[in-house]
């Protein structure tokens, strides 16, 4: 028996050893392997702060179809929304666009719910959903305006994508699509050229650091063919010429609940928690042809970092970079009395906790300003 010590496929030297030499060889080999592996892990942890170069995360989740039989597209978007919120991105950094209201649709046998698993196991609508663009507001024009930032001045903060050059953005689109286009509201389309131009305008104005684009439609891969801006990674549920299929119908509700690709994507994301170190190469393996019937595709040639070093939480979660405050300022002078009563408005918000009405927030504005749009919860 010949034993060879290799270095990446090149045989360094080969011997025909006795039994004790075999044991020594194996020992050395394992030792070297562990040493290199531990070294890599150690340097990864130390360089975590600087690996990604982003300081905040945004998500733009769009469902483009209306009508009751397109229930599954709304369920797709809401399940991605739920995962993204669970992993840490707050509502103020998510732009959720749903073209139709399934939870309060007249045909929904269980109102105020949107299920993603049959037998109604998982209600993805929940009680904490903030939809920013709803119904007929979801148009190609509004979507492009959100991406490029060219919104009219009266648009409130929750409807804007206020990303900067250190933001990682996740964009998820679902609906009915074809070769080179995606259908909005059954009446208009967005083409892959327009989408690529919108991303280029975002890049020119440095509105993103890195962008992950996921699309779950028929022939989805055609939508990312025309991208030409740097730092874009794209995933699609099917190639050109293939149809993306839905997963399973629920007989009580009467429609298909989810699409296959997003169903398996949701299953994959349920295993991710905010401090997990799963990387993008695992995400590319989600829903192989045996499960999805269509062939999922991805595109990483425009992305500068190696996908194996990109964490899932770089896009789906919001892991903050944190520094300890080492210095403080010594303030020795006592507080001065206020010159005159500053004009301020006070808002007090109440919540119902254990059947008591308790003030939970007192907000004071020092300059008279427009009211903050927030709901006051009554006690029922």
């Amino acid at each position: 028996m010949l034993l060879c010590l290799t270095d990446g496929g090149i045989a360094l030297f080969c011997v025909n050893p006795t039994s004790w030499q075999i044991i020594v060889f194996i020992y050395i080999y394992i030792y070297i392997y562990i040493y290199i592996y531990m070294g890599n892990v150690h340097s990864d942890k130390a360089g975590q702060f600087f690996n990604s170069g982003h300081t905040n995360n945004w998500a733009v989740l769009v469902c483009t179809s209306r009508f009751w039989f397109n229930y599954r597209h709304v369920a797709n978007t809401l399940s991605v929304y739920r995962s993204v919120k669970r992993l840490g991105i707050p509502d103020s950094r998510i732009v959720l666009m749903l073209a139709d209201d399934m939870a309060c649709n007249h045909r929904n046998p269980k109102p105020a719910t949107v299920f993603s698993h049959k037998n109604m196991e998982l209600n993805v609508y929940g009680d904490d959903v903030e939809v920013d663009y709803r119904g007929y507001e979801v148009t190609v024009e509004n979507f492009l305006r959100v991406l490029t930032g060219r919104l009219p001045a009266s648009t409130p903060r929750s409807k804007r994508l206020l990303s900067d050059d250190r933001s990682n953005i996740l964009i998820y689109l679902t609906g009915h699509g074809g070769n080179g286009f995606l259908k909005f509201q059954d009446s208009e389309e967005i083409s892959n050229v327009e989408l690529a131009d919108a991303f280029e305008q975002m890049w020119q104005k440095r509105r993103y650091n890195e962008l992950l684009f996921i699309i779950d439609t028929c022939q989805g891969a055609s939508m990312y063919e025309r991208f030409y801006s740097p730092n874009l990674m794209a995933l699609a549920s099917s190639q050109v010429g293939e149809d993306s299929l839905s997963h399973q119908p629920d007989l009580a509700i009467g429609v298909h609940l989810m699409d296959r690709y997003t169903f398996y994507l949701l299953e994959f994301l349920e295993d991710i928690h905010p401090s997990s170190t799963t990387n993008m190469n695992q995400l590319f393996k989600v829903c192989p042809k045996s499960q999805c019937v269509s062939t999922p595709g991805h595109r990483t040639d425009l992305f500068l970092r190696d996908p194996g070093r990109v964490l899932i939480t770089d896009f789906f979660g919001s892991v903050r970079k944190v520094e300890i405050t080492m210095e403080t300022i010594n303030l020795s002078s006592p507080m001065e009395p206020l010159p005159e009563r500053i004009n301020c408005t006070v808002h007090i918000l109440y919540m119902c906790i254990n059947k008591h009405i308790i003030p939970t927030a007192i907000i004071m504005y020092y300059v008279p300003r427009q009211k903050l749009l927030r709901d006051v919860f009554p006690c029922t």
């Binding site: 060219r150 929750s158 900067d164 020119q204 520094e323 403080t328 927030a361 020092y366």
Partner: protein
């Protein structure tokens, strides 16, 4: 019969002529994307940025620093210029105009004060230096104004005190004096106004240089980008109102401690301040009990997960799109008191606070020592010590705004800023880097906009959009981008930092208005097959009869010519 044929011929020909000469140009003009005129040449000129930054330096010699031979040459002026090429499109020129003179009697008296801080105060009362300039007072080596080992003292204003080297090492004549002093004065000026690394960092929008070190990358990620306004929110988190009744005089604290800093920063941006109190707001992380300290601890790794659950509860002003800085004061509940933050080496942090880049800071305020266990009736009234809290928040605010810079070189003593929050020279540093950043961003925006309009032929350019770009804004009488940029660059060259900052702010506002003009969205993109599908049903039925009649006319003309030819023969 000939007449009828002639009339037919003329009719067909005239229709064809009208279609070709009138119809086709009309169709072309009406289906063209409207493009208002833009000063493309001037924009392309701006693509190549050549910035000159001028600093006025005044060097004042006190008695005992100059040799008699050197004294004769004073006062004099010298100009130093340095050119640095950053990349193909960007060059920087630094110009230091130094005026050397001797101190007058009042300045000599001021320099006789016992400590450097008092000297700095009395020097300031004598004259105020304009923003962007630096004044260096040179004192003899034997002077006791500065402590041992300290060669340079930088005060609260724009003055520095420099200790001269030993007379032996300096030399007797003018040239040797300058050779000794110039590098040291350059070093002082670089600390107090700008250094080459600061300016290249400010140009990061234009020039994507790979960061030199991890510290500079962390610096560039930490501070907010230049913006016309910021919103600051102070929040008090009380997870346990049954045990603690917290009282904080936030209005007074903001007025006394934060407002002076913000008033000083007024030329840079508008600030608006909110405060709020949130009840039943918990941290998202469970702290661990450390029996050796008899306290609960939060270690550095779990701090990253603290912010997200809290952020969902914080509100923000719905009307503005300005970046928000959040400062949170967390008072731990009675069951998890006291709570200390540990750094990576498991040591407790003195400030008990941490911050997140481009977001804000959180401070943990322990109150368990203010009440005995089980004896006092709950809830306990607690008055929060705002001095301690504001000391931490002020430090974090300075970091977020980019005031903090690299540590001072050895031998330098920098006076801590104290109650004012910001020294004048720190403000100058900020103004220099902000002006350069604004100019770089505005030029990148406007040149990339011109490039986009070139590349994507389908975008519509309306008049109001053109007004933001052009020389004069049609609607608001504000200056357009191109003019503001040219004025800003001119003021930087002249050394007027205040005006340069104003113009650069206007340039940024105008360029953002131009780039984000809502009318620019009308992308008139149609795939080619759709274009054919629209035009063929319109033009084909019209063109086919014309073509057929032209062919018929041509064949008839040929036949007639053949007939004539055969007749001749």
């Amino acid at each position: 019969m000939v007449l009828v044929v002639m009339v037919n011929l003329l009719a067909a020909l005239s229709i064809a002529v009208v279609v070709v000469l009138v119809g086709v140009p009309l169709w072309w003009r009406t289906t063209e994307t409207y493009r208002a005129w833009l000063p493309v040449n001037q924009i392309n000129e701006l693509a190549e940025l050549q910035l000159q930054l001028s600093v006025d330096v005044e060097v004042v010699f006190s008695r005992g620093t100059l040799m008699p031979e050197q004294q004769k040459k004073v006062p004099f002026t010298r100009t130093q210029e340095e050119a640095q090429k950053v990349d193909d499109d960007t060059t920087l020129r630094y110009r230091y105009e130094s005026k050397y003179r001797t101190a007058n009697i009042m300045e000599e008296d001021a320099l006789k004060q016992p400590t450097a801080a008092e000297a700095d105060l009395s020097l300031h009362t004598l004259s105020a230096s304009p923003c962007g300039s630096v004044v260096v007072y040179v004192i003899p080596e034997t002077s006791v104004l500065l402590p041992q080992g300290v060669d340079v003292y930088i005060g609260h204003r724009r003055t520095a005190v420099l200790r001269m080297g030993a007379p032996m090492s300096v030399g007797k004549n003018h040239k040797q004096l300058l050779a000794h002093l110039e590098p040291r004065i350059t070093q002082v000026v670089q600390v107090m106004s700008f250094s080459h690394t600061d300016i290249t960092a400010a140009l990061s929008d234009r020039v994507r240089l790979s960061p030199g070190s991890k510290e500079s990358l962390a610096d560039s990620m930490r501070s907010f980008k230049s913006s016309p306004g910021y919103e600051i929110t102070f929040s008090l988190l009380n997870p346990d109102p049954k045990s603690h009744r917290l009282d904080w005089d936030i209005e007074g604290a903001v007025h006394s401690y934060i407002q002076p800093l913000l008033t000083k920063l007024a030329p840079l941006a508008n600030f608006s301040i909110d405060s709020q109190i949130l009840y039943y707001a918990m941290l998202g992380v469970n702290p661990r009990f450390d029996s050796s300290l008899e306290a609960y601890t939060l270690n550095a790794d779990s701090l990253a997960h603290v912010i997200n659950p809290v952020e969902a509860r914080l509100g923000s002003n719905a009307a503005s799109s300005n970046p928000v800085l959040n400062f949170l004061l967390y008072v731990p509940d009675a069951h998890h008191s006291p709570l200390y933050i540990h750094d990576h080496q498991k040591q407790p942090v003195a400030s008990n606070a941490f911050h997140s880049p481009r977001w804000g800071g959180i401070m943990v305020y322990n109150v368990n020592d203010l009440y005995g266990r089980g004896e006092t009736p709950l809830p306990v009234n607690i008055n929060i010590n705002m001095e301690k809290v504001m000391g931490v928040f002020l430090a974090q605010l300075r970091l977020m705004l980019g005031v903090q810079s690299s540590p001072a070189p050895p031998g330098f003593l920098v006076e801590p800023c104290g109650g004012a929050g910001l020294a004048d020279w720190e403000l100058d540093r900020l103004m220099w880097s902000r002006t350069v950043e604004n100019v770089a961003t505005a030029t990148t925006t406007i040149t990339s906009l011109a490039q986009l309009l070139d590349q994507i032929g389908n975008i519509l350019c309306s008049l109001s959009f053109a007004g933001s770009v052009n020389l004069f804004h049609y609607i608001n009488n504000k200056l357009g981008t191109v003019t503001s940029l040219q004025l800003a660059v001119a003021e930087l060259e002249a050394g007027n930092l205040g005006f340069a900052l104003q113009y650069s702010k206007e340039a940024i506002l105008a360029s953002e208005r131009a780039f984000f003009d809502p009318s620019l969205l009308h992308l008139l993109y149609f795939p080619d097959d759709q274009k054919f599908a629209i035009y063929i049903p319109l033009f084909l039925p019209m063109c086919v009869p014309i073509l057929l009649s032209l062919i018929k006319i041509a064949s008839e003309a040929r036949q007639r010519r053949k007939l004539k030819q055969s007749k001749k023969d």
